[in-house]
């Protein structure tokens, strides 16, 4: 439909519009990421050469490249397989749907259980079988059918002013009026918070969670905005005394070079792992980063190799030491700073329950005007 008018078009079109096509084609880089073709500036020529020798795979990730790249570099060093990446923030499922069976994606990587399970539900993943993955990852942290795998754990914890006399905390305490005007938090609609609120719904029901959320809202010291690190920064700046954030940010800040701003923020806080109160629970809320093999993966074998590499001791220890996350694999050493946060007792609630409650959690955030 698009091409037919062009053929019959008068000469003006060739001037004014077909010139556009020419320009576009001139700029067109092949979407199949053969790095041997016109290598984009900024693309490693060495990587391109290796790709031709040993094969490659394509990674679509919503995970920040700065956190994945060290792992991918180590993978390439070990296997010789080149990993082409595109970091997509929003719209990964939409892009995959549009690309359909022509999609070059092999591995899909996300930072939130909800996002990962959305990909599974959308039919963008395929089942794989790997005894390596099954042995490394506890059963509740992977899909029974091999459609998805958690690779690291991210616990959502309390940052508290170091001078506070406080060494244990429950998520429910956040709504306690004694914290009025003393709590900092990022947007309630952020997936990290939605995940926490969804777990709260699973534990206590919608009505109790709404009451709790109103209490937390009333305790906020400033607009629910910014990122998790701003919690530590604002505690040092005297805006608030406690706040909710992911633990690995604290690991990163406390490990930052002496004298840097980040280090000062990190040093101002202590990390307390809150738990859900109530019988039979008592755990800390944990989300995951994870991955799946794409349904139309052209290099599915290589994709499985990457996943298997990511649960190797070497990679899991990189997750722990470079990203300050919690490894999914038992027995991998933690970063010393993260270790100092104390033992992590994971909330036993299945991730699927959390994922189911996301929409309700998000609507609750709107209903109580958490971000307003």
């Amino acid at each position: 439909m698009r091409q037919s008018p062009w053929a019959a078009a008068p000469r003006t079109l060739q001037l004014s519009a077909v010139a556009l096509i020419a320009l576009l084609l001139a700029a067109c880089q092949p979407s199949s990421p053969a790095p041997t073709a016109t290598a984009a500036p900024g693309q490693s020529a060495a990587g391109a050469a290796a790709a031709a020798d040993a094969g490659e795979l394509n990674l679509y990730t919503t995970r920040e490249p700065g956190l994945v790249q060290p792992l991918l570099d180590a993978f390439t060093a070990e296997t010789g397989l080149v990993v082409n990446t595109v970091f997509v923030r929003d719209g990964l499922p939409e892009r995959l749907r549009a690309e359909g069976e022509r999609s070059p994606a092999d591995v899909l990587m996300t930072v939130d259980a909800g996002n990962l399970l959305d990909l599974v539900a959308g039919g963008h993943t395929r089942a794989i079988q790997s005894s390596v993955l099954d042995a490394a990852i506890p059963a509740q942290l992977r899909g029974e059918d091999g459609h998805w795998y958690a690779l690291s754990l991210r616990d959502r914890v309390l940052y508290a002013d170091k001078s506070l006399d406080l060494d244990s905390f429950t998520y429910e305490d956040l709504a306690d009026p004694q914290w009025k005007g003393r709590v900092c938090m990022r947007s309630g609609q952020h997936p990290y918070n939605i995940s926490l609120f969804a777990a709260m719904i699973a534990h206590h029901g919608v009505a109790a969670t709404e009451t709790w959320l109103r209490g937390v809202k009333a305790n906020l010291a400033r607009a629910a905005a910014g990122g998790d690190r701003e919690v530590a920064r604002d505690i040092l700046g005297g805006i608030c005394d406690i706040g909710i954030a992911n633990a690995y940010y604290a690991g990163r800040m406390k490990n930052a070079p002496e004298g840097s701003e980040q280090r000062a923020w990190g040093d101002a806080i202590k990390v307390i792992r809150p738990v859900f109160s109530g019988a039979g629970t008592g755990g800390t809320h944990v989300n995951i980063s994870g991955a799946a093999v794409a349904r139309h993966a052209p290099n599915a074998d290589n994709a499985v190799r990457l996943l298997e590499y990511l649960v190797s001791d070497q990679a899991q220890s990189l997750y722990a030491r470079a990203n300050y996350e919690y490894p999914v694999k038992a027995g991998v050493a933690l970063d010393p700073v993260v270790e100092s946060f104390g033992p992590l007792n994971i909330d036993p609630l299945p991730l699927t329950r959390v994922v189911e409650n996301r929409r309700q959690a998000s609507e609750l955030v709107d209903r109580v005007g958490f971000d307003n």
Binding site: M1, R2, Q3, P10, R11, T12, L13, S16, A17, A19, L20, L23, L24, L25, A27, C28, Q29, P30, S31, P33, P35, A40, G42, E64, P65, G66, L67, N84, T85, V86, R89, D90, G91, E94, R95, A98, E99, R102, P104, D118, S187, Q189, H190, P191, R222, A223, A225, G226, D228, R229, R233, L236, G238, I239, P257, R358, R359, S362, D366, N372
Partner: protein, 557 residues
């Protein structure tokens, strides 16, 4: 070239129609998505989200609109009507805030004004306080903070269009008003402002659409706009149909508002048969000259110098800490430049096609279809970048499916041609920013009296020959301004780039975002600084082109 190659007018109309159809592609895809339905969305939205989000959005738009109108028109008048030492420098320095993405400005000011930042720090030192808890200033993470920041970054849209108006149109009317006894102080209100109204309207509309579709700064500052609601519906609740419904509803409102403004001045004509010439500025001396200079420096300082110096400072600090800059940045900067340059050429060319088609149709007094084409072509700017990108996915996939069949027929392996290519990015940028070039070209053409067309025709020029010989030289300032805006906007564009880009492909904006996404803004500071530096290039080019404005006008007149 054009004179030797006469082109039937119908061809221009066909081309303009094709451009409009290309814009309709993603819109229809969005409408289709929206029609998939979303259960309970509107009752939830209506009860809990819209009242607050609509109020916030309205307050933000009114605030930013007022601020950019005052800053933009005021600064344009200042450097057009008065002469003082530093005026020439100031007249292009006013454009500098264009080079800084709003989310970077937001980050810079949060850092500077934070209790831990230098401003409150010095204040505490001055007051002899030690604990930041003893002094709490209003937080920039608020609606008021967002209005001020966005206003000081976006006013150049108004400045650019209004200044062009004062440069090319104002002199004769202002002199006539003076002769008729209007006091100098009243000239601005009684003559200059009404004269500049279309230009102000265009500039304010562009600034407000930027504001409305902004997501980075709004999210960072915690301002809950309707666009944030679109995101929440789509991302957090995985409800794309619902998000498309809200986005399209917003689009309808925006289009209605713009139509209302046009309707308000439908009877006004601004074409001048006079030789266009700038206002003779009044020479200021001594204290008044200094005051004028200082006043003019305020928007430049707030919108550009402070954040730019902050980035420079942070870059140096990072350099001392890390010791190196990623060598990839140079290649990434080059990606950004060529991509933005290509998108600018395509966007300006297509904008001109659409506007010229309307001009030709107006001459025949049958402008309906051509006007519709132009309005449709401008719709991409009224959507958030991500939403447009989502809409583009379906038509691009359809194109690739067709192309894949073609490749199969030719015995080749079918692959994606458009999806995940830089062409997809150029297409997205073009559709997104076509409003800027088409709007500028239309406004520029409206200032050229139809009598000129008739004269050119009677001298035997074809319609296309007339464009090359008469209109293009006169349009040069308008097109140069449009090119500048498209270039910097493309360079800063983030959401569509993130979604549509090829593998292993980075622009400065995506590189910066990669660090910002994990909360490490300061590590992206080199990329941020490079965005500002690359953004300076076209500003300087335009400033230099400004020198030749007078020349091109002389030859044209």
């Amino acid at each position: 070239m054009f004179a030797a190659d006469p082109v039937p007018e119908r061809a221009w109309q066909v081309a303009a129609t094709l451009v409009a159809l290309a814009m309709l592609g993603p819109l229809l895809a969005l409408a289709w998505t929206a029609a998939q339905g979303s259960t309970g969305l509107w009752s939830h939205m209506g009860t809990y989200v819209l009242p607050h989000a609509a109020r916030t959005t309205l307050a933000l738009l009114v605030g930013v609109g007022a601020l950019v109108a005052v800053l933009g028109t005021g600064s344009a008048w200042l450097v057009s009507a008065y002469d003082f030492p530093g005026r020439r420098l100031l007249s292009w320095a006013m454009l500098l805030p264009l080079a800084v993405p709003t989310y970077i400005v937001a980050y810079a000011y949060l850092d500077l004004l934070h209790p831990l930042g230098p401003v409150q720090g010095s204040l505490r030192a001055l007051l002899g306080l030690e604990d930041p808890r003893d002094l709490r200033l209003p937080d920039i993470r608020s609606l008021g903070g967002a209005i001020v920041l966005l206003g000081f970054v976006l006013y150049p849209y108004v400045y650019l269009s209004t200044r062009a108006m004062f440069l090319t149109q104002a002199a004769s009317l202002l002199e006539a008003a003076r002769v008729l006894g209007v006091r100098r102080a009243a000239l601005f209100v009684r003559v200059a402002l009404p004269l500049a109204r279309p230009a102000i309207a265009v500039g304010v509309a562009l600034a407000l659409l930027e504001t409305l579709n902004d997501i980075g700064a709004s999210e960072f500052l915690g301002v809950q706009t309707l666009t944030v609601a679109v995101y929440t519906t789509w991302i957090t609740r995985s409800d794309l149909p619902g998000a498309a419904q809200i986005a399209l509803a917003m689009l309808v409102i925006v289009v209605a508002l713009i139509a209302l403004e046009r309707h308000g001045r439908r009877r006004q004509r601004y074409a001048s048969t006079q030789r266009p010439r700038p206002i003779q500025p009044r020479r200021l001396h001594g204290g008044t000259a200094l005051a004028a200079l200082l006043l003019g420096l305020v928007p430049v300082l707030v919108g550009f110098v402070v954040p730019a110096v902050f980035l420079l400072w942070e870059s140096i600090a990072r350099l001392q800490l890390a010791g190196t800059v990623s060598p990839r940045l140079l290649g990434i900067a080059w990606n950004t430049v060529w991509l933005a340059a290509l998108a600018t050429v395509v966007t300006v060319a297509l904008g001109l096609v659409v506007a010229w088609a309307l001009r030709l149709a107006q001459a025949r007094r049958r402008p309906r279809a051509a006007a519709l084409n132009l309005r449709v072509a401008c719709l991409g700017y009224a959507l958030p970048g991500t939403v447009l990108a989502i809409g583009l996915l379906t038509p691009m996939a359809a194109f690739d499916a067709g192309a894949g069949e073609l490749l199969r027929l030719l015995g080749q392996e079918p692959r994606m041609l458009l999806m995940g290519s830089t062409s997809a990015l150029v297409l997205a940028y073009t559709l997104r920013f076509l409003a800027i070039s088409a709007g500028s070209a239309e406004a520029g053409l409206a200032r050229i009296p139809p009598a000129l067309d008739q004269a050119a025709r009677s001298l035997g020029r074809s319609s296309t020959g007339m464009l090359g010989a008469v209109h293009l030289p006169l349009l040069r300032p308008a097109l140069a301004a449009a090119a500048l805006l498209v270039f910097v906007d493309t360079m800063k564009e983030l959401p569509a780039t993130l979604m549509l880009r090829p593998m292993n492909f980075e622009t400065l904006a995506t590189w910066l975002y990669a660090d910002a996404a994990r909360g490490a803004y300061e590590e992206g500071v080199f990329a941020a600084l490079l965005i500002v530096l690359v953004g300076l290039l076209p500003v300087i080019l335009l400033a230099r082109a400004g020198v030749t404005w007078a020349g091109s006008e002389r030859t044209a007149a």
